[in-house]
Every structure is written in C-alpha cells, then in structure tokens.
C-alpha cells in the first residue's frame, strides 16, 4: 500500500504537514505576534490572521486540505508528562 504512486490528495497532505511543522517550530514567535487570534498557515507562513474566523479562513478557500487553521491561545502550553 505504501508503494503506490503519490496522489494529488497525498501531496496536499504532505503540504499540510509541512505547514504544521512550520507552526510547531515557530510557535513561540507566532504566539507573541498573534495571541488569541485565528491564523491560517499556507506555504509555511501566516497567510491571514484576525479574531473573526469566518473572515480569516477565506484565505484558505480551495486549499482546505493543506492549510493549518488554528486559534493561538495565550499563556503557557501545558506539558502533562
């Protein structure tokens, strides 16, 4: 099953993972710049941000499978273990 050719949907998922990896790596900076805001990450950068999710996620239209759409919380992120 893993030998099959990569499909466009799977390429899109790889891009999603890259966008999420970018967020994980740059979270501290993102949290400083966009606290308590919704952001959309596309092409490994913040494509839009704001407090109204319906407005913010318009920049992800047509790219829902690869965009990271997330609300950035304030405060320390817990580490349970």
């Amino acid at each position: 099953m893993f030998e099959s050719e990569v499909t466009p949907e799977q390429r899109e998922r790889r891009r999603l993972l890259e966008n999420r990896a970018w967020l994980d790596k740059n979270f501290e900076m993102v949290q400083k710049e966009y606290p308590d805001q919704w952001i959309v990450i596309l092409d490994q950068k913040v494509a839009s941000h704001g407090s109204d999710i319906d407005v913010v996620k318009r920049s992800a239209e047509g790219k829902e499978g690869e965009a990271v759409v997330i609300r950035i919380p304030v405060g320390t992120i817990p580490t349970p273990m």
Binding site: Q10, R71, P80, M81
Partner: protein
C-alpha cells in the same frame, strides 16, 4: 454465518452485513470532512455501520466505521443481550476467569511489512474529524505498551495526531495506565516501545476502553469474555503482542524527552481540546494485511460511536464501583459527554426505609474512581429506566422542585476539557457537582404519586411487547 466471538474485524463486518447492519458505500468520499459527516449522520439516526470502498486520493483503500455506534451492535460484540445491557455486563464481569492470549508464529497482520525508510503514514487514509484538526488524527488506534518493571502489557484506545511520514503525537496523560508506564521509561531515560493496532475485532476495541485495575492485561479480559485465548503475534521491532488478525500495526518508540505541540482535537465535550506538548512516536515499522481496511472512529459533538462505546464501558464500571458502597443502586446511565450528565436509579422500596439514601448515593457517585467526568447526576427510582431520556425528563418535570431537590457542591475535581470549567483551564480542572433528586418524595409530597402512574394495564403492555411484530409493526 459469523457469530460471537469475532476473531477479526472482517468477521465482524460479515456479521453486520448478514444482519442488515452494514452499508457498503461505493461512492467516492473525501477525507477532509465527508467521512466524518457520514459518521455524524449515522450516529444521529442510529444508522448502520459502513465500509467506504472509494476514498478520494487513496486508491485501493477501504475505511470501516460505526461498528459500535448503537447499543445493539455493542451488545452483539460483547456476546450479551441488549436488554439491561449494563447490569448484565456488570454481572458477567464478576464471573469472568481470565484466559491468557496464545502467541502464534504468523498472522494476516504480517502479510505486508514496511520498515524505516519505507514507511509513509501520509498514505494512510486518516480522515479529518473536525474542521480544525490540522493535521488529522488516527482515532481508532489501540495503543500497547509494556511496563519495564513488571512486564505487564497495557492496552488502551488513544488518539494519534499525524505529524510526518513516520511520526505521530501520542496523547499520553499521567493518570492513565500508559502514562504511568511511560513515566518509568522517562525515569530510566529510555525510549518506550509502543504498538498501535488499527482495525481489530470489536471486543478488542471495547476491552481497550474498560477502566481496568493496574496490572490487568486487557488481552486476558478478551479471553475471559470469549472463553478462548486471543491469538497474538509478536511485533517485528519490539516484544509487544498484537492480535494476529489486526488490519494494521504501527510499531514505534516514544522518546523520553521529546515533546511536540499537539492539537487541537474534536473532543467528546463537543468543543476542541487545547494545545499541549506531548510525546512523539517515531515509527519504525508498519505491518498490515494485503487488502487492508482502515478503521475510523468519529468523536465530536455528541453523539458518536466514541460516545456510545465510552458510555457503555464507563456505566458498567461506575455501577460496579458504586454498588460496593451503596448496593441499593440498581442501574447507571451516562446520558451525555462521558458522564457529565449521568442518571442513577435506586431501589424505591429501600429508599423508603432509609432516609438520606439519595444523599449517600450523591456523594458516592462522585468519589468512586470511575467518575472523573461525572458532573450532573439525576437520581430516579428503579421503576424508571435511567437510559430512557423521555422518562428522565418526565421525572424532572413531575418529581423535582428546584428549591429543595438540588444538591450543589462547588469546587469538586473535574476536567479541564469541560468548556464551562470555572478556572479557565488552569490546573487539573474543577467543577460544580450537582445532584438532581428526581425520585418520588415521601409525605407530604406524595399525594399525586399515590394515585398511580397513568398507563394501560401491565398485562396488556406485556402482551403488546410479545405481539408487536405480529401486529405488522
């Protein structure tokens, strides 16, 4: 004809098909929300299970879901009657003798093997649940980990966020068995081997949800239920044991120190979880069946397959634990959100002889181990079915007065997953604990109850139950 015990997911699928409880969907489905929306509608309509045969962008794959979305299907998976399922299951668990698994040399789960460098989890058809689960999660992954000191293998259903072609986040929490075991690896500064099973028989899914005591191997419980040993194989890259007929087995290691941002996830509360720094599973090997079926489990705003499964298993354990202290409790029903609204029925005759029994029940329910999410409890007499929401609402309507029949205790242990939790997610979570006494009250409040419940004669009610099919319904 398939029948209990089901030794594989495929046995189970055949059984459901034979009983008209399976839809084989041949239309294309999209992982970005369509698979989840279908499961949502199945849950809302008590619909059948489904096998999706055509997944957009994932040729050759099939997805199975909703095998346990109804109580009836859960009862079949457990080999018991749906009638009084909680009390029947609690009774059965008392009489079980453990049957250890048997290790076999080979199994269908090893028909294909992929090792480091060949693994690509992007090619698994992992479906989005909520809109903002980015990336999506493996939701029906059953995690196995071994205690390095005692050799005990723990099994539990868990969620795993996809983080790379060979990386997954693992929601390991310190109060769960997997967390307690992982803490020992952290102390030794050693990686913890794990094995994640996707697509096992339904009983393996259910026992992995049971809040079992420490050092109890869930695979022994599987054997106890069925009377036969579970056939297991050893993993390729560690010594963990997994069911031989599993569809997919993901083998990996959790680094004792590495933590990566995880979430958000569509939680059972119906809202997203917050972000957490959680361990990472580095995948070293994936084995699977040749034409394997990926299993998905939907969990979001109630209700869902995850709610049905979780509620049943927690009801059984709650009933068992509460009855140790209050034997007059007859049944427990989790009505919403893994216990946040729970109904308890009490022996009506015993209650008359023991004033204060409802308050004793109130305090016991919240203090037993199986109650971490219990928050609002409705107590009814045992002539009411606590699983029937209409009857519960009827009792609230005509047997309850807010000015005297509510007990509220603030600042009880709760869960940070509760969006109404008053301390904004700081610390382990705090809740108000509220008990609604919806039992019939003693004099002077009993005048109307003494006139009797308005309904047809009992013998005719029973007759209609027997003849329902004959009438043509």
């Amino acid at each position: 004809m398939s029948q209990f015990p089901f030794k594989s997911l495929r046995d189970w699928i055949d059984f459901l098909k034979e009983r008209g409880q399976l839809v084989e969907n041949k239309e294309d489905v999209d992982l970005r929300g369509e698979v989840a929306a279908i499961s949502r509608k199945i849950a809302l309509t008590n619909g059948p299970a489904v096998v999706h045969h055509r997944i957009k962008g994932y040729p050759g794959w099939r997805i199975f879901s909703d095998g346990l979305t109804t109580r009836q299907r859960s009862a079949w998976a457990l080999g018991i009657s749906e009638d009084r399922i909680v009390t029947n299951l609690a009774d059965k668990l008392k009489r079980l003798d453990k049957v250890k698994p048997v290790i076999v040399k080979d199994g269908p789960c090893k028909e294909l093997m992929y090792f480091a460098g060949q693994v690509d989890l992007v090619k698994l058809p992992i479906a989005f649940t909520g809109e903002y689960d980015t990336p999506p999660f493996i939701t029906a992954g059953i995690s196995n980990i071994r205690d390095p000191e005692t050799g005990w293998q723990n099994t539990g259903i868990r969620r795993f966020q996809l983080k790379g072609k060979d990386r997954l986040n693992n929601l390991v929490l310190p109060f769960q068995h997997e967390g307690i075991i992982f803490a020992k690896y952290i102390k030794k500064n050693k990686p913890a081997p794990v094995a994640i099973v996707i697509g096992a028989d339904p009983l393996y899914n259910l026992v992995s949800l049971m809040p079992a005591p420490d050092q109890v191997d869930e695979m022994d419980t599987w054997g106890a239920f069925t009377g036969i040993p579970l056939e297991v194989v050893r993993c390729e890259t560690n010594d963990l044991l997994v069911p031989a007929t599993s569809e997919i087995v993901i083998e990996g290691e959790m680094d004792p120190k590495e933590r990566v941002l995880e979430g958000p996830f569509s939680e059972f509360t119906g809202f997203y979880s917050g972000l957490r720094m959680l361990p990472v599973v580095h995948v070293m090997c994936v084995t699977m069946r040749k034409d394997c079926i990926y299993q998905n489990m939907y969990m979001a705003v109630p209700t869902s397959e995850a709610h049905t499964m979780g509620h049943l298993m927690n009801e059984v354990e709650l009933l068992r634990q509460i009855k140790e202290f209050v034997p007059e409790v007859k049944d427990v029903a989790i009505l919403s959100s893994w216990g946040m609204v729970t109904a308890v029925s009490v022996d009506k005759k015993a209650k008359v002889k023991k004033p204060g029994l409802v308050n004793k029940i109130a305090l016991t329910v919240k203090t037993v181990k199986a109650s971490p999410f219990v928050k609002n409890v409705i107590v009814v007499d045992d002539d009411v079915d606590p699983h029937n929401v209409h009857e519960i609402l009827w009792c609230m309507s005509v047997k309850f007065q807010g000015q005297k029949d509510i007990l509220v205790i603030p600042d009880f242990p709760g869960t940070i997953l509760d969006p109404s939790e008053p301390y904004l997610g700081k610390g382990p979570g705090v809740t108000s604990y509220t008990v609604f006494d919806c039992t019939e009250k003693p004099p002077p409040y009993d005048e109307a109850y003494k006139r009797g419940v308005a309904q047809p004669r009992e013998n005719y009610r029973k007759l209609v139950e027997e003849k329902w099919g004959i009438y043509g319904f």
